[in-house]
């Protein structure tokens, strides 16, 4: 049986707008695309020109710094456009789908082959674009030898997709993926305590976790299972991406379909959709956002996800699209003294927080307002209360702001990713942009070290 780690610290925000456990219909649509920024850390170099024929598995673009990191097309058709912005920055690469799903002939990886062969096969199939690394939380470099590979097989973020539901039929693919990854490095899987879907995972060290968000963050799991030391590299990969690899390893096909939860108070029919990576979000969002609502669309969960638009494409690494109230049109009178019955807070000075301590299960409909002005750090211990990691978050953030590399290293910068600070950023009474600070710090550090 798996080891059980109970994490007491964390943040439980009950938000209105969970997805119903049923599947809705969504057409694949004519256009499928990628935003290279979603693959953090790569410098995109297009491999094709507009008009070129594309099959499932044809390389669309690759990392200029590391050509083995390739991003392949999830559909067949023709390359429609490479949209560029200021200074010719690639904003999106769009493929016109011919609905045939013709597959490129890519060699199936040999489970008994050498590590190099397996890496090569994964690289050719575009799978390395889905593997991230710690330190720096960027797309991994295939030539590295990781100490271990970590996978988190649950998600506790507000409104998160239920992994038990979306991976119900993908158990064998998930196992195939792990079998292949285990050839590269020891694999660690973090599962929810009492999981059924991931109960029989083999070939990996399985750890069960019990706790609140962010216990489902892979960074938290690494920190509690086998923390990263300076000089070590750990690869992290999402459960969905393991399934992609499993489909490729087991059946030799590239299938980038995934189940996505449409959640949030402003979404009209909230349920799960079978979608394909890069599919236009308008396929599920058109006529699906409450009428007259001033909504914000988030790719991912409301804490670590990023804002997106209705006509953008389904990003990698997310199994959730959240439609929240924007709130810029709300005028709240004297919020600093009003009891406030309907706003989320961890402080009992806000009435709703006090009430929710008495009646559990109370749900909120939050909007995206910051609800205060940015200040210097005033309150202490706020971050540590919601982060079950053996790291002094506040001191790490200060070291990052000062960009004191020695301090950052000593305090554990190599173990964290911006998403690990999402809960802390949520509760920060000084409204500091912790995820941005950490992202900038990691980028600067990487530049300095490499």
């Amino acid at each position: 049986m798996a080891d059980l780690i109970k994490l007491k610290k964390g943040l439980d925000i009950r938000v209105e707008g969970e997805a119903e456990r049923e599947f809705g219909q969504a057409a694949l649509g004519d256009l499928v695309g990628f935003n290279p920024d979603d693959f953090y850390g790569i410098v995109p170099k297009p491999a094709l020109k507009p008009g070129d024929a594309v099959k499932v598995g044809t390389v669309l673009f690759y990392n200029k710094k590391q050509p083995d990191v390739k991003i392949v097309s999830p559909v067949s058709g023709t390359l429609e456009a490479i949209n560029r912005g200021d200074r010719r920055k690639i904003l999106s690469i769009v493929v016109r789908n011919d609905s045939k799903m013709t597959q490129e002939s890519i060699k199936k990886p040999d489970l008994n082959g050498s590590v190099e062969d397996i890496k090569k096969a994964l690289s050719d199939a575009g799978m390395f674009a889905f593997i991230k690394q710690r330190p720096y939380d960027v797309i991994a470099n295939p030539s590295d030898t990781p100490r271990s590979i970590f996978i988190s097989a649950f998600d506790l973020a507000p409104l998160a997709a239920d992994y038990e539901f979306i991976f119900k039929d993908s158990q064998s693919d998930f196992q195939n993926g792990i079998d292949l990854l285990a050839k590269i490095a020891p694999v660690f899987v973090g599962v929810k305590n009492g999981t059924k879907t991931f109960a029989n995972v083999k070939n990996a060290t399985v750890t069960a976790f019990e706790g609140k968000y962010p216990a489902s963050n892979v960074g938290v799991q690494i920190n509690n299972v086998q923390p990263i030391n300076k000089g070590e590299i750990v690869w992290t990969i999402g459960a969905q991406e393991v399934v992609y690899i499993g489909r490729f390893a087991g059946k030799g096909i590239l299938d980038f379909s995934k189940n996505v939860a449409l959640t949030g108070s402003e979404a009209y029919s909230r349920c799960y959709y079978k979608m394909t990576l890069g599919q236009s979000l308008s396929q599920i969002l058109d006529s699906n956002i409450c009428k007259g609502s001033n909504a914000t669309i988030i790719s991912g969960n409301p804490l670590s996800g990023s804002e997106t638009t209705q006509d953008s494409f389904l990003a990698p690494f997310v199994n959730q699209i959240t439609v929240m109230k924007n709130g810029s049109d709300v005028d709240e009178f004297m919020g600093w003294i009003m009891p406030r019955f309907n706003t989320f807070s961890t402080y009992s000075s806000v009435a709703s927080s006090f009430i929710s301590k008495i009646c559990h299960g109370r749900k909120y409909t939050p909007d995206t307002r910051i609800l205060g002005g940015q200040r210097n750090m005033i309150m202490s211990g706020e971050y540590d209360k919601v982060t079950p990691m053996d790291i002094y978050m506040e001191y790490l953030v200060k070291a990052i702001i000062a960009f004191d590399i020695d301090k950052m290293e000593a305090l554990g910068i190599y173990e964290v990713a911006p998403e690990d600070f999402a809960a802390a950023e949520c509760v920060c009474s000084s409204k500091m942009e912790l995820q941005r600070i950490v992202r900038d710090g990691l980028d600067k550090l990487q530049k300095e070290m490499c």
């Binding site: 709300v330 961890t346 939050p366 910051i370 005033i378 202490s380 949520c426 409204k431």
Partner: protein, 402 residues
Amino acid sequence: MGNIRKYIDKIKPTFSEGGKLSMFRSVFEGFETFLLVPNETSKPKGVHIHDAIDSKRIMIMVVIALMPALLFGMYNVGYQHYLAIGQAAVAGFWSKFWFGFLAVLPKILVTYIVGLGIEFTVAQWKGEEIHEGFLVTGIILPMIVPVDCPLWILAIATAFAVIFAKEIFGGTGMNIVNVALIARAFLFFAYPSKMSGDNVWIRTTDVCGLGEGQVIDGFSGATPLGQIATAPDATAQITDAAGQAISTWDAIAGFIPGSIGETSVIAIALGAILLLCTGIASWKTMLSVFVGGGLTAFLFNIGGIESAAANLPWYEHFIYGGFCFGAVFMATDPVTSARTECGKYIYGFLIGVMAILIRVLNPGYPEGMMLAILLMNVCAPLIDYCVVQSNISKRQKRAIKK
């Protein structure tokens, strides 16, 4: 709400850059966010749900928590005055309170006008929003001075503390020592005759014609701690302004001479409950101040030192002077206290220890709370350093072991 928003939007350009009144931009912004919660939304890549708490609400909660002590302090100022002129039994509740209110209000006004004036100016100069930290400092400061402290001195102390203890470090959240305590320490060392001794704790003259009368014979304005420090015997007889003995109950309720807000343990306890329930003050710091103080005083009790201060029962140290006030409202200031959870225990404990050490062993200072907290404010980063360093060493050891 719509009308307020419309009106604010209408006058906004006048105060924005290039507008006629742009020199008051920070003040305008301050009032705008005071009236309406800012409706700025999250950044595209940031958290999209924010906690409803902000520094305004935190500071206001502390101010509310201070209210019982302040209101009681006002009443006590009147009570002590009427006691001194021998009319305590004659004067009613409201005339005592009204007397105290009139005596204390100018102090509050002076600290707020001077302090906020500096805050507004600095915010305008730096192009930042006004930080709310002074809301608390501005109300605490009048509460920790004697009622006879002259206003002009208070104004100088406020200006000194806000500029040199806070703004030059970078404003609220960046200061190393508690601003209100620095102001008090400044007063204490620069104007000792107005801050200590037997003649500053009770207002003997009238306020705006209210409470006229002759001071009774045998009047003494010494605080209980002052009496203990100067007691010739090993046990002190603590008396009030009229020469009557002060009971423990009087001291707990707060009917003793002292700084304006510090006397009533009950009123301070009400504030403490609010601060602890709302999670704004750390119970770890608060509790360990009492543990540290109680333990030290107890050791003196059994230590056999022949002085009134050493022989004062350990629990009575809590009810005289500013021990409770300091423990509840000043030691728990999150900015200047230790910031690590483990550090808070050490920090609080040492404050308690130092406060009693100074009270008992230093005949020059009957009250030790102010100096103890200031000293520990300076040491707090050291405590945190040690706590954080243990985490760092652990990480390094882990790396070497591999």
